[in-house]
């Protein structure tokens, strides 16, 4: 049993190693947390290498004039899925723009094993800001609004990429809560972004990363969300206040703390940490608070297109309509997919650019987000329309939105879809309303009806008691008994006929067999006269019965034979003599004294018999 367990473990381990060994080739990606910032505002550059090996050196010095780029640390992530182990390393940099402009961050080369990986070129647009973000006295130099509490055990940070926004514009926000990596977070609720004048989307699950800040290792919880300003004005976002229960190593009893400054010393310098598994932890509740961030919200400019319904962002649109061949009044489903980045929650369906000749039904929608907070994705609208007249195409859809980067309204148009509409418009009723026209008051609030229904019918007509189809009723199946009976009757009749014909055939076969045997005896020339004539007359009887099936052989005499075989007078006479001779031999025992039959007589008799047909 133990041996089996070892083998199984070895196989699993070998499989995992093999999976790891034959992992995909390394891939590199580089992203900016925001590509649009203002002067003084920080942005993060993250270079992530998937399926990375162990020996890699991140680019330590990225030089772009006008940008201060500092390496802040790395985090490693390993995942195992279906025994496939993959690892990724993320190198983080903080970028602080010094002046406005569009900057290109050049490709960075990283050597991973035998591969030389290169990041894509990134573009960062930096705008001037009247209120250049000033440092807030953070203990973390590159960040703008970091509040470190409890002497570097933890800190909170609120990252807002924009200081100026439009009403309705979606602004991504990241809340970072960091803990010294030697502390363990026992309990922490998701943070709340407080403030008035804007709506905050629900925070996503916190991403956990390990970062190196000022030479110390921090576990960072990144919570992503988005805010949308509801009205014009200057607002303050945050601060984010967060309480957490953490476990820190208990101090040794011999160490004395300074009064009123429990964290003046680094708590992790305690010798206890030399034996991390040998001591006890103590739980402590700490509170961290970020700096607030101010946001100026501007009104949308005038001149919105008629199709604008509140969408702010950057979008593209595709549309398709099906079916493309319909009858008048049949529904056509138009699927319009609007993709991009913006406030999808305030987005309405695109509209037909020309609604004449169409009847519209309320649209339905479905949103598929591409990120954690629902800022980017695709919203698919299904519009059902039906043509009221013969039209040749579904008109283009029009969708208007405000682009905050270009600071202008944009109207998207889809392409017209060719359409074939068949059939005629419903004809007006030929019969004029009678009762309805006189007695019925307007049913729908006095609205003028284009067409009115026809009169009541006072005759009840034919009464039925079932909607079921005829074959679902028992009467139908009972009715089948009649053709079934008929068929069975016909079948019985046919069987009877076959049986009768079989009997006749059997009788005929028996007669033929007897005839053939008698003829063979007659041809042998050895029979006595009495027997010869008896057999000869029997052959005539059998032949007559075979020719005329309703005759019994025993009843055939010379006259019957002559009639059946239609013999001439001479043959009839010979036939009569044959039967007479046979009777004489049968009843008298001799034929008029003849004791023997001549061979000529035999031959004549045989010829007569054989000529019968």
């Amino acid at each position: 049993m133990e041996m089996l367990r070892r083998i199984l473990f070895s196989v699993l381990l070998a499989g995992a190693i093999a999976q790891f060994a034959r992992g995909d080739s390394p891939k590199i990606t580089a992203v900016l947390t925001s590509s649009d910032v203002v002067v003084g505002e920080t942005v993060q550059l993250q270079i992530q290498i998937d399926n990375a090996g162990t020996s890699m050196k991140p680019p330590s010095d990225i030089n772009v004039p006008g940008l201060q780029i500092h390496y802040t640390g790395e985090s490693t992530q390993m995942t195992m899925r279906n025994f496939a182990v993959s690892s990724s390393i993320t190198y983080s940099y903080t970028i602080l723009p010094e002046k406005s402009g569009t900057y290109k961050i050049p490709p960075q080369s990283i050597r991973a094993g035998k591969d030389n990986l290169q990041t894509p070129e990134l573009t960062l647009r930096v705008a001037d800001s009247p209120r250049t973000a000033a440092g807030t006295g953070s203990n973390r130099p590159p960040s703008g609004n970091t509040q470190v509490g409890e002497d570097k055990i933890a800190f909170a940070e609120l990252l807002v990429p924009k200081k100026v926004a439009y009403v309705g514009e979606i602004i991504p926000v990241v809340v970072r809560i960091g803990f010294n990596s030697r502390a363990r977070v026992a309990e922490m609720a998701p943070p709340q972004v407080s403030g008035q004048g804007f709506t905050v989307q629900k925070l996503g699950e916190g991403e956990r990363n390990l970062e190196n800040i000022d030479g110390r290792s921090y576990v960072i919880f990144n919570y992503k969300t988005a805010i949308s300003a509801a009205r014009v004005g200057n607002f303050q976002i945050g601060p984010v206040e967060q309480k957490a229960n953490i476990l820190v190593p208990r101090r040794s009893s011999g160490t004395r703390r300074k009064p009123f400054d429990p964290f003046a010393e680094d708590p992790f310098s305690d010798p206890f940490f030399a034996l991390p598994f040998g001591g006890l932890m103590e739980q402590r509740e700490i509170a961290v608070k970020s700096d607030p961030v101010s946001l100026e919200v501007k009104a949308l400019p005038a001149g919105a297109p008629p199709t604008f319904s509140g969408a702010v962002g950057s979008f593209s649109m595709t549309a398709e309509a099906n079916p493309k061949r319909v009858q008048l009044g049949d529904p056509i489903t138009i699927k319009a997919a609007i993709s991009g980045r913006g406030n999808f929650d305030r987005m309405n369906a695109p509209e037909l650019s020309d609604e004449r000749g169409w009847h519209k039904y309320p649209p339905s929608s479905n949103f598929k987000q591409d990120d954690d907070v629902g800022i980017s994705g695709t919203k698919t609208f299904e519009l059902v329309v039906s043509p009221n007249e013969k039209l040749t195409s579904v008109p283009p859809l029009a969708f208007g939105y405000f682009d905050p980067v270009k600071e202008k309204y944009v109207t998207l148009h889809s392409e017209a879809v060719p359409l074939i509409v068949e059939g005629n418009a419903p004809a007006a009723p030929a019969i004029a309303p009678t009762i309805a026209a006189t007695s019925a008051p307007p049913a729908l609030g006095g609205q003028q009806k284009a067409q009115d229904i026809l009169y009541q019918i006072n005759d009840r007509g034919k009464i039925v008691s079932s909607f079921a189809p005829v074959y679902a009723r028992k009467e139908f199946w009972l009715a089948q008994l009649f053709p079934l009976t008929l068929a069975l009757g016909l079948m019985g009749w046919k069987v009877q006929n076959v049986r009768v014909s079989n009997r006749a055939a059997l009788r005929a076969a028996q007669l033929q067999q007897e005839r053939d045997e008698l003829l063979r005896k007659l041809r042998r020339d050895q029979l006595a006269p009495r027997e010869y004539f008896s057999d000869a007359s029997r052959v005539v009887q059998l032949k007559a019965a075979l020719k005329q099936t309703n005759i019994e052989p025993a009843t055939v005499d010379a006259e019957t034979a002559a009639r059946v075989f239609e013999l001439n007078a001479e043959q009839s006479e010979r036939m009569r003599r044959l039967f007479a001779t046979s009777d004489e031999f049968r009843y008298s025992g001799a034929g008029n004294g003849e004791s023997a039959l001549s061979s000529d007589g035999r031959r004549e008799t045989l010829e007569l018999i054989e000529s019968l047909s």
């Binding site: 039904y361 309805a436 009541q456 006072n458």
Partner: protein
């Protein structure tokens, strides 16, 4: 000669028997007749609510006719309930597919309600010259003729095979019509602002908004929800109390 006489008798019996009950019921009870007349009077007086109640009472008695459902549909139309008006016009058409007044009023009701109609399949459009009943009866006739021919002329198998083949085609046509957009699954949306959804919860994503009077084809019933084919060629779950089957 004998055979022809037998076939004539067979056809007469085949057509006459299913209608035997209907013929026997041609004399409705006096109570139902009185109620029907009372409903007509109420309709003429503009008391559509009362007329609907009386027509429904007659419907509840189980003695139905195309004219009864037509009149009930008219009462609902005047009452402003286009969903139930269309439902009853459809029921009238099931009992009498060639009822001209029903056809005209149904078209008007659909226009007024802006309801969605199921598009029949190509096969159903080809078969629309007959009903499921018609094809079922023709299938039975072809079947028995083929069987009788097989008994009488067992050597002439080609005609027998042709008869069986035609019977199968007619049976298939009856099946397709019975299970098609005008078949047993047809239901009418009677609720206002009904929606077909992707799942059996009210908060599920909407597939299609269904105006009252819209047609759906119920494919499966599950508790308070029906899975149905929709007029836009999609499928979705519709609340069971929002739709009513045409066939009683």
């Amino acid at each position: 000669m004998k055979l022809r006489t037998l076939l004539q008798i067979l056809l007469l019996l085949l057509f006459a028997l299913p209608n035997g009950k209907g013929a026997a019921n041609n004399d409705p009870s006096r109570t139902d007749g009185d109620l029907f007349a009372k409903a007509n009077t109420e309709f003429a007086a503009g008391n559509f609510k009362g007329a609907i109640a009386d027509y429904q009472a007659v419907v509840g008695s189980g003695e139905w006719s195309a004219n009864l459902f037509y009149d009930l549909g008219n009462a609902y139309f005047r009452h402003g309930d286009f969903g139930r008006a269309i439902l009853n016009y459809d029921r009238a058409l099931r009992l009498d597919p060639h009822h001209p007044e029903v056809d005209a009023n149904l078209r008007i009701a659909h226009d007024q309600a802006h309801s969605l109609e199921l598009a029949p399949s190509a096969l159903e459009r080809y078969l629309n010259f007959g009903t499921a009943n018609f094809f079922a009866i023709v299938a039975a006739i072809f079947f028995w003729l083929a069987i009788i021919w097989l008994i009488l002329r067992p050597g002439r198998l080609l005609w027998t095979i042709a008869g069986i083949f035609l019977a199968a085609i007619c049976g298939f046509a009856a099946f397709k019509l019975e299970n098609g957009t005008r078949g047993q699954g047809l239901a009418i949306v009677i609720a206002e602002n009904a929606e077909a959804r992707v799942a059996t919860v009210d908060s599920a994503r909407s597939v299609l908004a269904l105006p009252a009077g819209s047609e759906v084809l119920i494919l499966q019933e599950r508790g308070d929800w029906n899975y149905a084919a929709l007029p836009n060629d999609q499928r979705g779950w519709v609340a069971a109390n929002a739709v009513e089957r045409v066939r009683l």
